[in-house]
């Protein structure tokens, strides 16, 4: 792995230019490096192929071949296309509806749903002055309900009282009812983690979705996810109809290719990113930053200016 794709491509093109004029084949060779970089960054293969098709169409043009900095030009084109695919800057949560507004959290095991539920609740409470209720529909993981309850206590967010023996659907109904009766603005439904190919559990969350009719159904996904991002995003979107993605663990040193994959596969926006374990470690999404990370370059702005 290399740290700067820009440096690497720059070196390749420098070498080529010393030998004379650039040819289309040279650009094609460089694009292979870009392809590897994207794959190393865990961008899903079908997404890489699609993206590279678009990049290639632009990169073999005269604009690049005649440029004095062809390496930078190629990188700029890749960066632009990445940004385009990643969508626009953070779109807020859609809670413009008659209260109580349900938000449904779904995703694989351990992706960060419970933690993110508390983060979102805290943000809505403190920043948007909403009265938020959280409910755990996780009847499976040991102490999952206690986890949400503890997070509620730590952050002064109300949680639905725990009743043993209820199904996820029962709890969803009880949460909606309680939220209505007690005048909550938003009710966050945290669900158990599930594999996209687990038929029983996917059916369970479909049922919960029908009951809750959420304003937001957020797929909570780990930014360290590899090629499986496609299956996960696609299946959850098809089965429960997600409205957006929250990417967690962006405080890690992963390249974040999953962001691109999920956005490209579902067409749904990345709404928020998790950047830590604490309840305030939640940020808006900036496609620019992710594009830079995927390409392995910190300061994309200066690079683009150089180009």
């Amino acid at each position: 792995m290399f740290d700067s794709l820009s440096d690497k491509l720059g070196a390749i093109f420098d070498g080529l230019q010393k030998r004379g004029a650039l040819k289309e084949a040279d650009v094609t060779a460089a694009l292979r490096e870009v392809r590897v970089a994207l794959l190393e960054a865990d961008v899903a293969l079908p997404v890489v192929k699609d993206l590279m098709g678009r990049v290639k169409a632009r990169a073999v043009g005269a604009e690049v071949l005649r440029s004095v900095t062809p390496g930078q030009q190629v990188i700029k084109i890749v960066h632009d296309e990445l940004k385009e695919t990643l969508g626009s800057d953070g779109q807020g949560l859609n809670i413009h509806r008659a209260p109580p507004v349900p938000i449904l959290m779904v995703g694989l095991q351990g992706s960060g749903k419970t933690t993110t539920s508390a983060k979102i609740a805290k943000r809505l409470t403190e920043r948007d002055k909403q009265k938020v209720l959280m409910a755990s529909l996780d009847t499976r993981r040991p102490a999952a309900m206690e986890q949400l309850k503890t997070l509620g206590e730590q952050n002064q967010i109300a949680t639905l009282p725990i009743v043993e023996g209820q199904t996820a659907a029962d709890i969803a109904k009880r949460a909606l009812q309680a939220a209505k009766l007690q005048g909550f603005d938003v009710v966050i439904l945290d669900t158990a983690g599930r594999m996209a190919i687990d038929e029983d559990l996917m059916a369970e969350v479909e049922q919960v979705r029908r009951i809750a009719d959420p304003a937001e159904t957020l797929l909570v996904a780990d930014s360290l996810t590899g090629q499986d991002a496609v299956t996960t995003a696609k299946t959850f979107d098809e089965r429960v109809g997600i409205t957006g993605v929250v990417l967690t663990r962006m405080d890690g040193d992963g390249r974040g290719g999953a962001a691109l994959s999920m956005r490209a596969v579902t067409g749904k926006p990345i709404k928020l990113v998790g950047v830590g374990e604490k309840a305030d470690a939640l940020e808006d999404f900036h496609p620019e930053r992710i594009a830079g990370r995927i390409l392995g370059m910190g300061d994309i702005v200066s690079l683009v200016e150089k180009a």
Binding site: Q109, I197, G226
Partner: protein, 293 residues
């Protein structure tokens, strides 16, 4: 990305022609990439296949078998059982890894396995940070029937580990497993905290922890290589466990890891239940990676 089903189907789909040519090889490489082997390893495996079979008539079944064989060969050297009968009492196992990979759950599963083998087991709830992490391990302790040493939330993980060692020694426990909070490998302060836990254990018992297991999530992509690198260096990881192989991810990054690090892989997790833990089997793993269902 693609599940094993897609991968296998893909191989079948590629073979409209019977000769292994460049196009076919490129597609095979792509299929391996889809299983998270990473572009470099996928290229090497495909190259090897090309060397042996280029321009020869091959059936899809044959390609699948040869590919699986190659992957299994890479993994063969790292498959190793976890031996907890090396004369230590307690035999101390430390569980480490990034957030949410399955450390606590794997401890529960291992505890059950050791109990079934007639060993006495004690668990130490060393995740004093995450909400209800202690309660989670306590439920596993109850399920499996073994004591759990706890401290209060925000307590000191190293102190807790020490208390657990004292208790396990006094009670003549066979296996003590210490849970730790999930931590990303790029967080220096959290990695230092882990080193402190290890120092305390080593100071108290000498050659311990006897095993430090890094738990990897099969859905993780190429970052897993980085995780192994840093945890090996800073926490002295002695072995790996890969969880969540019951999903659609194939965990191909393990192949990259096997090439790069000389670390044994002990177990794979295939579900959330107490029995959903299997010894790592390179043949089965490789077959699932390249096979149709």
């Amino acid at each position: 990305g693609r599940s094993a089903a897609n991968l296998g189907g893909g191989i079948t789909g590629i073979f409209t022609k019977a000769k292994l040519d460049d196009d076919t090889l490129e597609e095979l490489e792509d299929l391996l990439i889809s299983a998270d082997l990473g572009p470099a390893v996928a290229a090497r495996v495909t190259e090897k296949l090309a060397k042996e079979r280029y321009d020869k008539e091959v059936s899809p079944d044959e390609v699948r078998a040869v590919l699986a064989e190659q992957v299994a060969q890479i993994l063969d050297g790292v498959a190793a059982p976890l031996d907890v009968e090396r004369g230590h009492r307690p035999h101390v196992i430390l569980m480490v890894g990034v957030n949410g990979t399955g450390k606590t759950t794997t401890i529960g599963k291992l505890a059950s396995k050791f109990r079934a083998e007639g060993k006495s087991v004690m668990l130490a709830a060393g995740d004093t940070f995450r909400a209800a992490a202690v309660e989670q391990l306590a439920v596993w302790g109850e399920r499996v029937g073994c004591p759990v040493v706890t401290t209060k939330l925000e307590g000191d993980a190293a102190g807790l580990a020490y208390d657990a060692l004292v208790r396990a020694e006094a009670e003549g426990i066979d296996v003590l497993m210490i849970d730790t909070a999930g931590r990303l490998q790029n967080k220096a302060a959290l990695m230092d905290e882990l080193s402190k836990v290890i120092r305390v254990v080593t100071k108290k018992l000498g050659q311990a922890p006897h095993d430090t297991l890094l738990v990897l999530d099969a859905t993780t992509g190429q970052n897993a290589v980085q995780q192994i690198d840093v945890f090996k260096d800073q926490a002295g990881v002695t072995g790996l466990v890969m969880t969540k192989l019951d999903g659609s991810a194939r965990g191909g990054v393990l192949v990259a890891a096997a090439e790069k690090f000389d670390l044994p892989v002990h177990f794979v997790g295939v579900g959330e239940g107490v029995d959903d833990l299997q010894p790592f089997d390179p043949q089965a793993f490789a077959k699932a990676l390249v096979d149709a269902v």
